[in-house]
Amino acid sequence: MAEVSANRQVSSSGFLLTMATEVPSPDPGQFVMVGLPEPGAFFLRRPFSVFDFQARRKRLSVYYSVAGPGTEVLSRVRPGEKLSLLGPLGRGFPESPRRLHVMVGGGRGGAPLAFLSRRARKGKRVLFLVGARTEEHVLPLERIRASKIFVATEDGSLGMRGTVLDLLENVVSSPDFDWAEAALYGCGPSALLRKLHAMAVKRRVPCFVSLEARMGCGLGACQGCAVRKSSGGFFLVCKEGPVVDSLSVDWQSYSEVR
């Protein structure tokens, strides 16, 4: 059990949940399974990507949005309460040898990328692209460490008006954008990831995406989180993911799954 040290709303749709815990240091892109408070009718733990980890203070944070009844209940948890916590789990983002890391986060998808941005090695250039509905929905930008942060909002209330993909088109069309040095990192809605993948294929650059699937065990035991592979068959998001090379995903199938 991990004690909640903070659980605050930090944007219109986003909460920052910080727990005191002794877990091993997570890699960016890894996730934790968080149990919902009892007694309740909820059964499964909810998976969330690690947003921040402070080894010395033994604090792990996730950034989550209220997506349904479970996260609604989570948003009402108060500091001092205890939640069951499992993790860190899965495979995080690989470190591409390329020098230009383009991180594209749609909505709450920015969370694992924000964590990733803070781990980028010296000598890497990080461009961080954030998409959100409105200014109020943007995740806490101060936790991102990047050479440049770009923001797009659907209503233009902060940064460019449009989607994070429009933003990406803008960024890559800049004359000094060098595809040969670029690697894409993405997290967000399936439509975003699918288009990111398409762009990566077209530009022949590596693309790593963090996927979502409903999870049971989080440990590769239940076969619940299967996602169809481009090469046929399935992989398990909790074990072979959540971060995978976008080439390995059957995007038609992934985007149909609710």
Partner: protein, 303 residues
């Protein structure tokens, strides 16, 4: 807390249910297998199976829906990749076997008998019988008996048969399995169910239908265990919605000899350990020397 199921001896009555513990070793980091009575593997079939289209899981009030679809590595990979790791585990290993024809079940068991290295079988008869137009083997006494008969002649290891609760008359299936020589009966598998996503107007599960497990099924499964223990002498292993020591003990009072924990592991992998501790504590508090002493002590009202 030692328990005997036919010739199978378990250090305690708690087993990990098929499908939640993979092939036994996946949960090694989160569950001390040296504490549990036995691990039942994910159901194995002769050929590898990829399983159903995603999503394969959905949450419903107090329950979990799954449509994994018997995804498994198949007997060959199981024997070459997993069996050795299982041998080293400090618990009983029960291999769950499934098939779509009686011949498939039989062939699978023969392959496993050749290598050995495990303690018993759990025969999952909730698989659709392809020869009988997809009706589950577990849904009629005759088909269930057919599977058990075929396997009984192939192995001396204990045969546990896992019944499906989705039948009008579970005692008749239980009696059929008993008379073909089953050593124990697991009651039972998941309840058929389905969830719909109103926004997309599509089934939540990629496979449309699935099986319900978790607290939502406990009271129904309790009634099934009660029906079965009232009709056979073969030991019954209760499986359905067990989350706490109290849940497990209720089944034992109704007549179960042992029990399996499934979905509760997903809520908290410490569930098996805390259930065992709770049972010990209960026995201490009530002055009960062994769980066996509680078995079948349900007192019926005089009416």
């Amino acid at each position: 807390m030692t328990v005997h199921l036919g010739s199978l001896r378990l250090r305690n009555p708690l087993m990990l249910a098929s499908g939640v513990a993979g092939y036994g070793h996946e949960l090694g980091d989160v569950i001390d297998l040296g504490r549990v009575g036995a691990v039942v593997t994910k159901t194995l079939t002769l050929k590898p199976r990829q399983g159903n289209a995603p999503p394969r899981l959905a949450e419903v009030p107090s329950g979990l829906l799954n449509s994994i679809g018997l995804a498994n590595v198949g007997s060959r990979a199981f024997i070459s990749e997993h069996l050795d790791r299982l041998r080293n585990l400090d618990t009983r290993i029960i291999v769950s076997v499934g098939g779509f024809t009686v011949a498939e079940y039989a062939k699978l068991v023969l392959e496993l008998e050749e290598v050995g290295g495990f303690d018993a079988y759990e025969v999952n008869i909730s698989c659709p019988n392809v020869k009988a137009g997809g009706v589950n083997f577990g849904s009629t006494p005759g088909k269930a008996a057919g599977v058990v008969r075929a396997l009984r002649s192939k192995t001396g290891r204990p045969l546990i048969v896992k019944l499906t609760p989705n039948v009008t008359d579970i005692p008749s299936v239980a009696v059929a399995c008993e008379s073909e020589g089953a050593d124990a009966l697991t009651v039972g598998n998941t309840f058929r169910a389905m969830a719909v996503d109103l926004d997309s107007r599509r089934p939540v599960l990629g496979a449309t239908g699935g099986g319900l497990s978790g607290p939502a099924i406990k009271a129904m499964c309790m009634a099934k265990v009660w029906e079965v223990v009232s009709s056979v002498r073969t030991p019954v292993i209760a499986c359905g919605g067990i989350c706490s020591a109290g849940d497990a003990l209720e089944y034992i009072v109704v007549g179960a000899a042992a029990f399996q924990v499934g979905s509760a592991c997903f809520r908290d992998f410490r569930a098996p350990e805390s259930i065992l501790e709770g049972i010990t504590e209960f026995c201490r508090r009530k002055g009960v020397r062994s769980v066996a002493e509680l078995r079948g002590t349900l007192e019926l009202p005089r009416t």
